[in-house]
Symmetry: C2
Subunit: 373 residues, 2 copies
C-alpha cells in the first residue's frame, strides 16, 4: 500500500471515523482505523462494539489522492490522528514498508509506526438494509435534540436507553422515556410501510455530532431488525439496535386538562436555572403555586436556603400546587421551538404536558414529585 493525500482532507475524514473509536478499547484492533486503498479510493473505517463509521475518499481536486499501490493497514487512531494533525507538509505520503510497519512522510518529518494487519480487523457488514427513509439533516438533528435527553440511563430496562422510531400510516413517532418523563416527536413522512425500531440514545447523539453539525442536506436512514444506517454521500454511520419490545406509551399521555399555564419559555428557563444550586439529595425540586392572581416558583432546601420568584404568567383553573424536577422541565423545554409555552395539567400528582404554540410536532411530558412542604 502506498498513497499520498492532502493532510487537511485526511485529517477531516479522521475526525469523522474517529468518533467511533474508544482509545481504551480492550480489543486492540478496535483502537485502530482501517485504511483500504483501492480503485482510486481511500476507505477509512472506525468501530466500537455498538457503532461503526465508514468514510470513503474518492480522488478529487481537493484531496489530490494518489494511490501508487493498493493495500490495507490498521493504525491506532490516536497515533494516526497526531501524525496527520502535526505533519510539516500539506500532503502526506503513507506507505507500508515492512509487514505492518507503515511510514508517514511529510516535509522533513518521517514516522515509522507499527500498524496491525488489516485482516485482524473484525468483518463489518456495511451493506445497506432494504428499508430506508429520507429526511433533512436539520430535521433529524431536531428529533435527536428533542428526545434523547429523556431516555433512561439505567440498564435495568435496556430498551428504555434508546429512542423508539415507529412508522405507520405515514407518521413517524420518535419516543423516549425513562418512566418519569416522556418526549415524543411526530413527523409526517411520505413512505409506504411500517417499522418499529429502538436506536441507542448514545448512537443518536454520536450521529448528531458526527454528521449533523451545521449541515442542511439529505440523510438516508436505512434499517432492518438488527441495525440502522445513517447515510450522507460518502459517509455511513451504522449502529446496532436495542432488543426488546418498546412499551406502549400513548395511554400515559393525558388527553384532557383542568389547568393551563401560559408563559414565556425563556423566562421559565431562566427562573429555574437561577435555582439549580439549591439541591435536595442532589435533586432540584421546584414548587409551582398557581392561581389566577399569581404564579410563584420556589425551591427550598433545609441546608442551603430558598428561592422565591413571581413569574409573569397567565393561569386558568382552580388554584394548583405542584412540584417537579427542575432538571426535567429544563431539559424538556430547552429544545422546544418558539417562546410561547403552554403547560397543561390534570392534577397535582398527574403527569403534565409542555408544548409551545409554534411547534405541534413535539410533546414533552413530566411526572410531578411528591413533596412535604
Amino acid at each position: 500500500m502506498k498513497f499520498s493525500i492532502s493532510k487537511n482532507e485526511l485529517y477531516a475524514a479522521l475526525q469523522i471515523v474517529g468518533h467511533a473509536i474508544s482509545s481504551t478499547s480492550p480489543q486492540p484492533s478496535l483502537r485502530g482505523i482501517k485504511i483500504d486503498a483501492e480503485n482510486d479510493q481511500l476507505i477509512l473505517t472506525g468501530s466500537n462494539a455498538d457503532v461503526s463509521i465508514q468514510k470513503t475518499l474518492e480522488k478529487n481536486e481537493d484531496n489530490q489522492l494518489n494511490i501508487m499501490e493498493e493495500g490495507s493497514i490498521l493504525i491506532e487512531f490516536r497515533y494516526l490522528n497526531d501524525i496527520v494533525r502535526k505533519i510539516d507538509s500539506d500532503f502526506i505520503l503513507v506507505e507500508i514498508i515492512d509487514g505492518s510497519l507503515t511510514k508517514f512522510s511529510g516535509n522533513s518529518a518521517v514516522f515509522k509506526i507499527n500498524g496491525m494487519v488489516a485482516r485482524d480487523y473484525p468483518i463489518i457488514d456495511f451493506s445497506k438494509p432494504a428499508t430506508f427513509i429520507k429526511m433533512n439533516t436539520q430535521q433529524l438533528a431536531e428529533i435527536i435534540e428533542q428526545t434523547t435527553f429523556a431516555t433512561s440511563t439505567k440498564e435495568q430496562k435496556p430498551v428504555l436507553t434508546g429512542v423508539n422510531f415507529k412508522l405507520s400510516d405515514n407518521m413517524l413517532n420518535c419516543t423516549a422515556t425513562d418512566s418519569y418523563r416522556l418526549a415524543k416527536k411526530t413527523i409526517a413522512l411520505d413512505f409506504e410501510g411500517e417499522f418499529n425500531i429502538t436506536i441507542p440514545s448514545k448512537s443518536l447523539n454520536d450521529v448528531k455530532s458526527t454528521m449533523l453539525s451545521d449541515t442542511n442536506e439529505e440523510i438516508e436512514i436505512a434499517m432492518n431488525n438488527k441495525k440502522a444506517q445513517f447515510i450522507i454521500k460518502d459517509m455511513i454511520f451504522q449502529t446496532r439496535l436495542l432488543d426488546g419490545v418498546y412499551p406502549e406509551t400513548d395511554r400515559l399521555i393525558p388527553k384532557e386538562f383542568k389547568y393551563t399555564l401560559n408563559m414565556n419559555k425563556d423566562d421559565l428557563i431562566h427562573a429555574i436555572d437561577r435555582t439549580i444550586f439549591i439541591k435536595n439529595d442532589n435533586m432540584i425540586i421546584n414548587r409551582l403555586q398557581c392561581s389566577s392572581d399569581e404564579v410563584v416558583l420556589t425551591n427550598k432546601s433545609q441546608e442551603i436556603g430558598e428561592s422565591i420568584e413571581n413569574l409573569v404568567a397567565s393561569f386558568n383553573g382552580d388554584p394548583l400546587d405542584i412540584s417537579f424536577s427542575g432538571t426535567y422541565v429544563l431539559e424538556a423545554i430547552r429544545n422546544l421551538k418558539g417562546n410561547n409555552l403552554v403547560i397543561s395539567f390534570t392534577g397535582e400528582m398527574k403527569p403534565f404536558i409542555l408544548k409551545t404554540t409554534d411547534d405541534d410536532t413535539v410533546l414533552q411530558l413530566v411526572l410531578p414529585v411528591r413533596t412535604y412542604n
Copy 2:
C-alpha cells in the same frame, strides 16, 4: 448588614477572591466568602490554608455601592457566585434578615440563603510586611511563566515545590528546579536590601491567573519570613512561604561549553511536539545526533514505532549524541522570548543550557537522560 451594588461589579470581584476557594474544603467557613460592609466599603475575603485574597470595593459610579447598614456575613462561595451571576436585575440588594439568614433580591427573584456568622471565619492578618519591592505586572507574569514549570511536584523536598526569590546587590534571582532541570530568571531591581524567600509554585500560578492577565501596571511584592503579599490597588493576594533552606544551584550551571547548536526555537518546538505521542514508560525521550553535516532528532519506542526528523540547524563541535526528556525541553523553551535558540552542551551526560539571543535574563538547564539505543 444591608447594601446594594452593581451585579456586574460584584460578580467581577467575586471571580478574584473566589480563586482562593476550594469548594471541597473540609473547613466549612473556608468554602465561604466573607463580606464586610463598613465605611462605604465592601471588603470581600476568600482563603484556603495557603492563600488568602482580599478585594475592597470602594463606593464609586460604576459599582453604585450603597451601604444602608454596616455588618458582616459569610456566604458559601458557589451559592453566592451562582446567585450574583444569574440574578434578574442590574443591581442586587443584600441584607441579613435573621441571624445569618441573608436575603438577595433582584427584580422578581429573591433568595434567602443560610449564611455563616462572620466571627466563625479565621482571623487573617493582611497587614503589609515592611520589606517590599515594585515591578510591572508583565515582568512578574514572565518570571512566573519562565520558572514555575520547573519546580518539583514531589513533596519529599518541599522547598523545591516553590520558586526561590533571592535579592542581593540589586539583582533579583528567581530559581526553580526539580533536580532534573533548572530555570533561572535574573532581573535588575533598584532596591537596597536583601531577601531570600521561596514562594509555592501553585501560589505564583494563582497570582498570575488572578491578578496578571492582560494588565500592565505596577504590582508590589511585600514579604517577611512567613508570608508574601502581591498588591495591586484594592487587591491583596497573600501566600504562605515554603520553609527550608533553598539549595545553592549556581555550581550546577556549567560555565564552559564544548558544543553549540543554533536553530529556530519554533522549529524545535514543532519537531518535538510532533513526536510526543511516542512514549517509553510514559516518558518522551528525544535523541539528538549532531554533527557539522546534519542534526537529526529521533524518538523511538519498541511498541509504537519511531520518528526521524532532519532539523535545520547549525552545530559547532565534535559529533554529539545526546538524549533528553522532550517534555522538559519543550517546557523550557516555550516561554523564552525571541526565536534564535542557542543550546550549549558540555558533554553527553552533562547538563545543557537553552537560551535565546534576544533575552539574557533567563537561563534554562536540562539534564540529559541515559538511553540504550
